[in-house]
């Protein structure tokens, strides 16, 4: 399912421009969405899911214009959505909750529904807890119920907003593998702050800042943005003032800093190979610098 977004703007009451003239094409397959807190990722996903109405612009999902009621419903028939703050009904068991959502998704056939719910409980490794009430679930377990819920009707469009938040490392890895396998001919839109997750699953990604797109391309391109800009500095003095410090590790001769900066932060600085995270930091640092210089606007 292809998503075509043009001139999309969302202004919340109170004048916050959560999305600001966004043009974006999302092809079939897995697509990553990165951006700082408040960049507008959740807003974009809610618009695509039909919960929030755009203030301006056009969004076409799989040929359906979401501005129209029938268009929205058509998209929702193909949609699996995991909200950032998932709420569940605490008095239901995991199995009942999934059964209920399956009914809401129109899976009226009882045995098919049961089978699907059972499969998904297996997929998210909750079979053992399936008949416990959600009230007693840990945060990560609840998140896994949310993931299962999104996959229920075998959606052609899957929108997951920070799905791996709160998952333990094994579950996180299992889930992102599941996602890429699932993608195939479907569209999966993944937003996350764990840059590595995008690197491990997506071919393409976009970076949002203040409701605008500041990067759109393949994951390799994003990594390349930091080429020649990643440095290692070992010092027992103060941290480098230039650039963004990515990590600081205690070392025998002081601290070992990994820094993303346009120029070498010091004479002893040693260049390093960039990672995806460095690429993301380089892109956002460029954007911030451009924002500071009034001439560039």
């Amino acid at each position: 399912m292809r998503i075509e977004i043009s001139g999309l703007t969302k202004t919340y009451r109170g004048g916050v421009h959560a999305i600001d003239g966004l043009d974006l094409d999302i092809p079939t397959g897995m697509f990553g969405l990165l951006g700082a807190n408040g960049a507008g990722k959740t807003t974009l996903m809610r618009i695509l899911a039909g919960i929030v109405r755009p203030s301006a612009g056009r969004v076409v999902v799989g040929g359906h214009d979401i501005a129209s009621g029938p268009g929205r419903t058509a998209v929702q028939r193909e949609l699996g959505y995991l909200p950032q703050d998932l709420g569940v009904y605490p008095d239901l068991t995991a199995r009942q909750f999934l059964d209920y959502v399956a009914l809401l998704k129109g899976m009226d056939d009882r045995s098919a529904r049961r089978r699907r719910v059972g499969e998904l409980l297996e997929v998210v490794a909750l079979t053992e807890y399936a008949d416990r009430r959600l009230r007693g679930f840990s945060g990560g377990m609840r998140q896994r119920v949310g993931i299962a819920q999104a996959l229920l009707a075998d959606p052609r469009l899957l929108i997951v907003d920070e799905p791996t938040a709160g998952l333990d490392p094994e579950e996180r890895i299992r889930f992102r593998t599941l996602l890429s396998q699932f993608a195939g001919r479907r569209t999966v839109l993944l937003s996350t702050h764990i840059v590595d997750d995008i690197g491990q699953t997506c071919r393409e990604a976009a970076v949002l800042a203040k409701g605008r797109m500041i990067f759109r391309g393949t994951v390799e391109e994003l990594t390349r943005r930091a080429r020649g800009r990643v440095w290692e500095v070992v010092t027992d003095g103060p941290a480098p003032a230039e650039g963004t410090v990515v990590s600081a590790l205690p070392h025998d001769d002081g601290m070992r800093y990994r820094v993303v900066a346009r120029t070498a932060p010091s004479a002893q600085a040693r260049p390093l190979d960039p990672s995806l995270e460095d690429g993301y930091l380089a892109v956002t640092a460029d954007q911030a610098a451009a924002g500071r210089e009034p001439a560039s606007r």
Binding site: I51, R53, Q76, V88, Y89, L92, L103, K105, R110
Partner: protein
């Protein structure tokens, strides 16, 4: 027609107040009738019917006023193909059906034991069911609509109880004019003009239907439900 299982899930969402409210209302009506110190059959019958006309609709309406807002899974609800307003309507139908079942049972007991007939303005066993049905639909429609507008169960409940109480406190003043008489909730047991009774009942039913329709139109905008809840 969707599977009965779906209705069962929606019934669970309506909560304990929906289950306990109507029988409790009937019980309170009976208690009030028993507590009357100098029982004359007419007044006892009037209080018994009054319980059906006053307490039962109030219980249903207050529950209906809490249906909108505070749904923990509303973000999922809003993205499934089943429209959320239809889901809310289903929950309201569950509440009203249960209330109706309790009320019909109570009315049947009153009819069989002869108490129904002892209140002169009882309007018979069949049309007489409008005694509780009309105020239940009218007041519940108000509660549902107030919930849709305010998205705060506390506020919507406050409006329902206030409207109910104002009609109790100022029964005479409310019924001085025709519009007030037509919208008066307790026309069977405290009605000022018996001739208006059927018109009053039908207007209440109609008002409830109109209010529910308005609420459903409002609820067609998902954005209203996702943010700005009046906590």
């Amino acid at each position: 027609m969707r599977p009965i299982t779906l209705w069962r899930y929606e019934a669970r969402r309506t909560g304990w107040a929906a289950v306990l409210g109507p029988p409790l209302a009937v019980a309170l009506g009976i208690a009030a009738a028993l507590a009357y110190p100098e029982p004359s059959d007419t007044t006892t019958a009037r209080i018994l019917l009054g319980g059906l006309e006053m307490a039962v609709p109030l219980a249903a309406a207050v529950v209906c006023s809490t249906l909108i807002g505070q749904d923990p899974a509303r973000e999922v609800q809003l993205t499934v193909p089943t429209p959320y307003r239809i889901t809310l309507l289903r929950r309201m139908i569950v509440v009203l059906s249960w209330t109706a079942a309790v009320a019909v049972l109570a009315a049947a007991v009153l009819i069989v034991t002869g108490w129904w007939a002892r209140w002169p303005q009882n309007h018979g066993a069949f049309a007489g069911q409008l005694t509780w049905l009309a105020p239940m639909l009218g007041l519940s429609g108000l509660g549902f609509a107030a919930g849709a507008v305010l998205r705060s169960p506390a506020a919507a409940g406050a409006i329902v109880t206030t409207v109910w109480a104002i009609q109790q406190f100022f029964a005479d003043a409310v019924q001085e004019h025709l519009p007030g008489r037509l919208l008066y909730l307790f026309a069977t047991t405290r009605g000022a003009a018996t001739d208006d009774w059927l018109a009053n009942r039908l207007v209440l039913v109609g008002a409830g239907a109109v209010l529910v329709a308005l609420a459903l139109i409002l609820l067609g905008r998902p954005e209203r439900l996702i943010s700005e809840e009046d906590e």
